[in-house]
Symmetry: C2
Subunit: 111 residues, 2 copies
DNA sequence: AGATGCTACCTTGCATAACAAAGTAGCTTA
DNA sequence: TAAGCTACTTTGTTATGCAAGGTAGCATCT
């Protein structure tokens, strides 16, 4: 019922899980990271709702920490469930990437 | 405003454009093709609405043709706009695939 | 003729994802 | 105290994909 069968919705979610898994981080920095990776269209309006959703699903946990400059930051890290979900997502990404590549690349050939 | 900035929503749409571009086809067969490619979760409830949408957006055109067996089929082919959209989609797919791969694969390394 | 089953298309309604926009608040610098 | 950056949150909108159900043509079997 909640096994994501929708094609690719949730790629952002998976990317966020992966980045957090690599190193505990917070929303604002996440948006910078994603941009660095080349996902430049991603806005905070997308990121924070996802973080809240992941939190509610117990895939990540956040703790407030003071920062030198500016307001406190909410640092997130993956839970066990989150790591499991990340692994699942990575599999699904592979399972979808291949067919899509095949469909798109074999543009003019007859079998 | 309509330049798809959403991350990956619409991959199905792009795949359908690509398959139709390769060879004029109709909805029912499309679902078989997608399955053959490995996108087995895709149901008619997804395909036909997309075909109608693409039609409305003038990316594809359909013509009814009699079939030897069973009811008439609606064969679709791409319009010029459709071919343009397909090219755009393929670029976007590449632009997103790379970052996502990078984010997912470099799971444990520190730069 | 009637029933079943496959082909083939279409529609309605729902869940969810991503986004824009706006709001809140802390800290710094001028 | 005003401006500007950091940082988080919420609300409302759009669009995607799907399940479910409906319509209908044709073939086959009984």
């Amino acid at each position: 019922m909640s096994l994501r069968s929708q094609l690719l919705k949730g790629v952002l979610e998976g990317c966020i899980l992966s980045i957090i898994n690599r190193q505990s981080t917070y929303g604002y920095e996440l948006s910078v990271r994603l941009q660095e990776f080349g996902l430049s269209d991603v806005s905070e309006g997308s990121i924070y709702p996802i973080l809240l959703r992941l939190q509610k699903e117990k895939l990540i946990e956040g703790t407030m920490q003071k920062s030198d400059l500016g307001p406190k930051r909410k640092y997130y890290h993956l839970t066990e469930d989150g790591q499991h979900a990340l692994r699942e997502f990575m599999e699904q990404w592979e399972n979808i990437k291949l067919p899509v590549d095949n469909i798109l690349n074999k543009g003019g050939e007859t079998d």
